[in-house]
């Protein structure tokens, strides 16, 4: 049952990471507010399911809806919130300015939730959402947890299918072009703000979903669940897995959550200090972030480019540039007509392999996927 719990949690955060990857990996916006959407999704799921609060506990709304309906409404609220934050932050701010603004947003939200107790009962938080629907489904506690695991994995799979399809679609390609060079994208007819905004809302929806699932999983939610420490784990996971690669992102999350947790489970904590091992875990995560950024910024799974395995046009060659073969090599390798017809077979067999010229800039490879604003 321990493993059921661990994998369920990893699955929920994998869904979360897929959403963040769309905003950060594809669109290139380093959004520190993202975890706040999970928190908001969790809170909303609670206050819509758990019914009226009993004093001294206090929180808003307090309806008693079926948990599935609550989750859908929670997602809507989260997306609404993201619509406001995105409209302000994405219009003119990029890079550092965007990061700072979203950090401010999540800090502000955290503070408001913590201090304005009538919202979500401040520091105490909300609790009591224990396996909603368990009796209706006639399950034992463990049975419910297993069902939850299945549901989470199923949703993760569906999310993966959707995200993977989008990644390879014109939408994904367009979003990445905006990330790579906004000016060029605008010069080719792309609406820069609008596309980033769409991506932002799309990602936030995933966070809302993950928030609802997390609320069911953990049956309680309070500000300690979203301390700065918690925030960064998901970013580390994406860095490890590979930004812009949905499979990599999911793998990164599972590796970090399961691998790291397992690794540090056996670390000793001094008797009087239970916070030692969790703190050590965070230190390792911090180290991982720095090392990945330094040595493998594109992660272990690169963003897969739009590879064309298709055939080369045979036969009739339309108008061609005049190409003095001798001078061709000075500025491009594929210039000579001989080379041009040479290798349809090579192209089909190994779409990623390419002859001499591209190797011209091998040293930039490590940097290539990182700089230019992807960060």
């Amino acid at each position: 049952m321990y493993w059921v719990s661990v994998i369920t949690e990893a699955g929920i955060f994998a869904i979360l990471a897929l959403g963040l990857d769309v905003i950060w990996g594809w669109a290139g916006d380093f959004d520190l507010m993202f975890y706040g959407y999970l928190a908001l999704g969790s809170y909303m799921t609670f206050v819509l399911t758990i019914g009226k609060p009993t004093p001294p506990v206090e929180y808003i709304i307090g309806w008693h809806l079926p948990v599935l309906v609550s989750m859908l409404l929670a997602i809507a609220v989260v997306v609404g919130f993201a619509a406001i934050v995105g409209a302000i932050a994405l219009r003119n701010l990029r890079e550092i300015y965007f990061a700072v603004t979203t950090l401010g947003a999540v800090s502000a939200l955290y503070l408001i939730v913590e201090n304005y107790t009538s919202l979500f009962d401040g520091y105490n938080g909300v609790y009591g959402l224990i396996n909603p629907g368990q009796t209706a489904l006639n399950l034992t506690y463990n049975g419910y947890r297993i069902l939850l695991l299945v549901v989470v994995l199923l949703l993760l799979f569906l999310a993966y299918l959707l995200v993977q399809r989008l990644s390879r679609s014109p939408f994904g390609r367009m979003l990445r072009s905006v990330r790579e060079d906004e000016r060029a994208a605008a010069a080719y007819g792309r609406k820069v703000f609008f596309s980033k905004y769409r991506a932002y809302l799309f990602g936030a929806a995933f966070a809302g979903l993950a928030g609802g699932l997390f609320a069911i999983f953990i049956s309680a939610f309070n500000p300690s669940a979203w301390a700065p420490q918690e925030l960064l784990v998901i970013y580390a996971a994406i860095l490890v897995g590979g930004r812009g690669n949905p499979r990599g992102v999911i793998l990164g999350v599972f590796v970090i959550y399961i691998g790291l947790i397992e690794l540090t489970r056996f670390l000793p904590s001094p008797a009087a200090r239970p916070d030692f091992a969790p703190a050590l875990r965070q230190v390792l995560i911090g180290l991982m972030i720095i090392l990945m950024l330094r040595f493998r910024p594109q992660g272990f799974f690169r963003e897969r480019p739009g590879v064309d395995p298709g055939p080369r046009p045979a036969g009739r060659r339309p108008w061609r540039l005049r190409v003095p073969a001798a001078a061709a090599s000075s500025d491009t390798a594929a210039a000579s007509p001989g080379a041009a017809v040479a290798s349809p077979a090579t192209t089909l067999a190994s779409p990623e392999a390419a002859p001499a010229a591209p190797a011209r800039n091998p040293g930039r490879d490590g940097q290539a996927a990182d700089d230019g604003g992807t960060g």
Partner: protein, 293 residues
């Protein structure tokens, strides 16, 4: 009226600490072109160093301040050598994320060493004084004076010494300065050392003013620091002082009339407004960063 004046008085004290932190942040940005999200940790390290030093130096505030400054300086040098220089040439956002990683590490190492619970100093706060219409403790006054002294020192340093000229040269164009014979690497290290020392000192003073503090002391001060730096104009140390004053006063006053817990929220609102309309500082004309599309 009295409330307002009292809050302005306290606001000055906060603004003074904020000014120190923000000037240091601005120096870091100016010399290395990065937003150092581990900046708050210099303050935290300074505060904890003074805390540990208290066991030795007891009531000697000056010694504690010195220890804090030295600790901050060492931390800054370590960060520069270990991270900033390693990431030279990478995009600013990459370095920002890396410094976030550092912040995570430092905070948790502090938890491992000192525990997560809050600690505090045992320095005497001194009596209350009426300075004109303001009500300040001796501590408050000392803070304001030391901040002014440090600010004055920085001004003299940057304006009149060779080091200062070198700093300005390197922050404008590192390659060019190097070619002109400026020992850029050493200037960068010197600037980080200075920024770290100021931050460590600021951390000590902040911890002393607040009373109890924990490993998140500096990080929670980071947002305010950045707001003050942005208000003044990132990369311009003198204007930063003005920015810090604005921010310190705004949040203190706003916090008095509603609840002081929301201070950071007001800082955030101010930050958003600044980002949208005056990203280059209140005192400069604005320019937008994104493509209008």
């Amino acid at each position: 009226m009295t409330t307002f004046l009292v809050s302005v008085g306290v606001g000055l004290s906060t603004a003074a600490i904020l000014a120190l932190s923000a000037v240091a942040f601005t120096l870091e940005y100016a010399i290395s072109r990065i937003a150092n999200f581990a900046h708050g940790e210099f303050l935290t390290i300074g505060a904890y160093a003074a805390y540990s030093g208290q066991a030795i130096f007891h009531q000697n505030v000056a010694a504690a301040a010195l220890i804090a400054a030295v600790a901050g300086m060492l931390a800054a040098l370590a960060l520069n050598a270990g991270v900033i220089e390693q990431f030279r040439g990478r995009s600013a956002i990459t370095v920002l994320i890396a410094t976030l990683g550092v912040a995570l590490i430092v905070q948790n190492v502090l938890i491992m060493v000192y525990g997560a619970a809050n600690v505090s100093y045992s320095f005497a706060q001194g009596g209350l004084h009426h300075i004109g219409p303001f009500l300040l403790t001796t501590s408050n006054i000392e803070v304001i004076f030391s901040a002014l002294a440090v600010a004055g020192l920085i001004y003299v340093l940057l304006q009149y010494t060779r080091f200062g000229k070198a700093v300005r040269a390197v922050s404008q164009d590192r390659a060019l300065a190097q070619v002109s014979g400026v020992p850029a690497r050493r200037v960068v290290m010197g600037t980080w050392a200075l920024a770290g020392a100021i931050s460590g000192f600021a951390g000590f003073v902040l911890a002393d003013t607040i009373g109890t503090f924990g490993p998140q002391l500096g990080f929670s001060f980071l947002l305010l620091t950045i707001t003050a730096a942005v208000a003044g104009g990132i990369g311009r140390p003198y204007a930063t002082l003005g920015g810090a004053l604005i921010v310190g006063l705004v949040i203190q006053i706003a916090g008095t009339y509603t609840s002081s817990a929301y201070q950071l929220v007001y800082a955030f609102l101010l930050l958003v407004v600044l980002m949208l309309f005056r990203p280059n500082g209140v005192f400069v004309r604005r320019s937008s960063t994104a493509v209008r599309a």
